[in-house]
Point group: C2
Amino acid sequence: MSTTVSPAPGAASRPGGRSARVRAAVHRAVKELVADEAGEPPTIPVIAARAGVHATTVYRRWGTVAELLADVATSRFSGDIVVPDTGSLRGDLERYAHDLAKDLSDPDTLALVRATIGTGGEQGAAACRGERQRQLEAILEREQARGEQPPTLEHATDAVLAPLYYRAVFTDLPLTPEWTRTLVSRLLPG
Amino acid sequence: MSTTVSPAPGAASRPGGRSARVRAAVHRAVKELVADEAGEPPTIPVIAARAGVHATTVYRRWGTVAELLADVATSRFSGDIVVPDTGSLRGDLERYAHDLAKDLSDPDTLALVRATIGTGGEQGAAACRGERQRQLEAILEREQARGEQPPTLEHATDAVLAPLYYRAVFTDLPLTPEWTRTLVSRLLPG
């Protein structure tokens, strides 16, 4: 008596697929809501409604808005810029600073950084740094492998990474290409 | 038939006094709530309850949590550090960086900065810069008045102010006195 009905394709048979779709819908909803309203961060019921999922699903998976924003920021800021390889330290750093400036100049990205910092504490802050620090480290290590003496990671962070984040997040000054080149030339004089 | 009762002293007779007390109570409530829960920013009803005032009073006076946080941050970050006057540019900058590092190392201050950045957009960001930029400018102008050629405000901001804010807000590294002196010595070599 095999009258059982097969599950609809893509439903129970592919939980990974559904899970990935929920994650994508929720991430998209967060990005849209954060970009729309520069102000209070969205609540989980509002995010769930926008994503077309149950609020309980969001609570079960992420717990809090802080966790959710950190997750969105992590996937936004990790792996989206490639480590430049121009053949010289100066060239690599100029490309790196230019790419990061461009990224942080995007109003939606900036809104996400601010919202994540606002709710996330250390976790959110780490999510916003993403892989920037690691990419900077890779650039400096490559220079070392060329037999040169690059600046320390701390110095490069203070001189290039920090001013980019500070200017983007705390001021309304533009992150111009001239200025990003100036940051690198102060780190590498001569 | 003059049986009217005089208003209680300090009530209707001193609206400025009451207004100042409400402001102080609401500011205190915001600081406590933000310090308590590193996470979602408090809502206006929660703030009002903690301050012992009507939520409508808070809505009428500040409108949104973003406005309120920016107001709290403005009074927190303005006028609380005096421009140092040690007799030398290096001494002034070292004192300035040291004071700012100490301030940003306070967990409650940091929680307020993060919450304000999170809700406030440009306005909140400007509130968190407070008078820091102006104080830095005053230090550089004093050096110019001594007949010297100080670095530009942009350079000093990138080299000293930005790394302090970046490290405090985006990392969990300590803002040590050695490091703050290093920032100044990179700006003023030799």
